[in-house]
Symmetry: C2
Subunit: 338 residues, 2 copies
DNA sequence: CTGAAAGCGCTTACAG
DNA sequence: CTGAAAGCGCTTACAG
């Protein structure tokens, strides 16, 4: 059963290809009777229009592409879910590509998406991306672009983000309210904006509460992994640093730290409290459960797709698109680790 | 900078569209000099051929589609990663759809993929799927199909699976070797084959070691969630059932059980040992870490794509495709919970 | 070695 | 209300 075409239907019903096409798309200038005949027959033979041929005329592929830095990652999976489910409602199909945090891969993948004529690209910038020309390329091509999570201040497009600085501030304030004064920070790599902002929020909270910032209490997690969290915690214990709380840039390093503290029979949160960031599913499953900042990935994904739709329609009306930065609310989730 | 076409290049260089097309595709009947001129110019203006127009002629979309039951799921994410990264090497792009374990959604999504003319479909069947006509549709359409993980014995296509029965058997045998005799099983829903097979492996292991099967020790996890695992464990404690080990159909229920046991101050593994299945990242991060069966998702994904390529080429040569069931090796990972 | 022409399967402005 | 015709951007059999 090869795929049928309009021509086949036209031949079978003894009418023209034009009329078949119009009937299927509910044009007003086709008689109800003809429409019924055509639709019934199309249904019967299970006809699906060839999207490639349609594209050549409409120049809409009804296709979008997502490029994320990591695939096996709770937060990004949540965003995917948000974008994909929203896209489906609007009959868009979604290509997924993963840059593995590499600048070179990100560049190639964007090029590929463009050559597939996607209508929109959704991007979270890789940690290693140091140049933005390939992103500018998307705009030059006339393709819609929405950036989420890992953004840059320099890209001319809309973005869906959280207020990392404010969220980190509230996390650290929460620790201070619990009576903690010697708060270590496991920060992310130096380049991405959100790693910088979380660090700045941490610093600001200390300052506002008359706690002196001590750079010896800041550790870098380049991979944002559990093992880095484990090692830094071990380091703190080995050096006998005076620390009564840890605020990690993400849940994974926080969980690594908890694992290390448990192995060393440190009481959590009495001796050392631990605070994560992102609210991965895992953070509620470990013992003690992890206090963290909830970052609503699915919501961010849905919002990203809606922004894409709006900008697409604005363009269609030949009106100028005004790029915006949409900030999604986060919330503090208190559990047993603080 | 709108997308250029062959026509534009032809006009710019004052030659025909035919020659441009041939030059770019390295046809032997174009002079070296012309080829050079064309390629150089195409490079300069960053020309990318319109894949939609090409499709109309070649009938290859260089596109595949994946339908999985869950998106925010460590094991399926690993498979995705395997398929996508292999696909990328061969210049295929990947559509991702998620059935959310729903039969109706799965049906619609397969239809959508077919209408996008994908060259291949990769499917893991939803738990709720009770009819396979929509899957037969794929074959009738002439589209290649590879099934992984959640398969059915009734689909005429190749599949990439593990030997669930054998793996479950080895898990239970491991518990028996540790001296456990009253082993509960938290099984999956009734329909999917792998949930059945893991249950059968459990039963077989008991039998082979002269332990009487007790149906009161079997609990169903319909959602395969941590909370079900928690509740079943609580149930065991409340009923004061004589149980010294739990073998769960997946890591999540096992982790729920551990959480419950810890809250009730039960010693793991001394009083009750816990065994999971799948080796999600989380299973090494909790305390005590979870013993489990490693199911190599990424490998399964890669294999799935390779099988697709082979079958595609076989078809191109007009030879008959022989469907096969590929079984990927699993291994037991012993940690602190057993 | 080069190019005019047909055709892939649609959509739509236009004529009747 | 219906349909002939042009065209989207490619590829390729064919003629010269």
């Amino acid at each position: 059963m090869k795929n049928l075409t309009l021509k086949d239907i036209a031949a079978a019903l003894n009418i023209s290809v034009t009329t078949v096409s119009k009937a299927l798309k509910n044009y007003p200038d086709v008689s109800v009777k003809t429409k019924e005949r055509v639709k019934e027959y199309a249904e019967k033979v299970n006809f699906t229009p060839n999207s490639f041929a349609a594209y050549l005329r409409t120049h809409e592929s009804k296709t979008i592409g997502i490029v994320i830095p990591r695939l096996n990652h709770y937060f990004f999976s949540s965003i995917l879910r948000g974008i994909i489910s929203e896209a489906e409602k609007h009959e868009y199909m979604t290509f997924i590509l993963c840059s593995e945090e590499s600048y070179e891969l990100e560049k190639v993948q964007i090029q590929r998406l463009l050559s597939k004529n996607v209508d929109g690209i959704f991007l979270s910038i890789a940690d290693k991306t140091h140049d933005l020309a390939h992103i500018q390329n998307i705009m030059d091509n006339g393709t819609n672009l929405v950036i989420f999570d890992k953004y840059s201040k320099l890209t001319p497009c809309s973005s869906i983000v959280i207020d990392d600085r404010k969220a980190a501030y509230s996390a650290v304030k929460h620790l201070i309210n619990k009576g903690k004064k010697r708060i270590a920070h496991f920060r992310g790599p130096l380049l991405p904006q959100n790693s910088i902002d979380r660090f700045l929020g941490y610093k600001q909270a200390l300052e506002d509460h008359d706690i002196k910032y001590d750079k010896n209490l800041v550790f870098i997690c380049d991979e944002i992994s559990d093992s880095e969290g484990f090692d830094h915690a071990q380091n703190i214990l080995d050096q006998k640093l005076d620390v009564d709380a840890i605020f990690a840039v993400a849940d994974l390093p926080a969980i690594g730290a908890i694992k290390c503290l448990l192995e060393n029979h440190i009481e959590i949160p009495n001796q050392i409290a631990v605070m994560g960031f992102s609210n991965w599913m895992i953070s509620s499953l470990i013992t003690p459960s992890l206090s963290t900042i909830d970052q609503p990935g699915e919501l961010m994904g849905r919002k990203a797709f809606k922004v894409f739709l709006e900008e697409r329609d604005t363009k269609k009306r030949n009106e100028p698109v005004v790029f915006q930065k949409y900030e999604i609310e986060t919330s503090l989730v208190e559990r047993k680790s603080t």
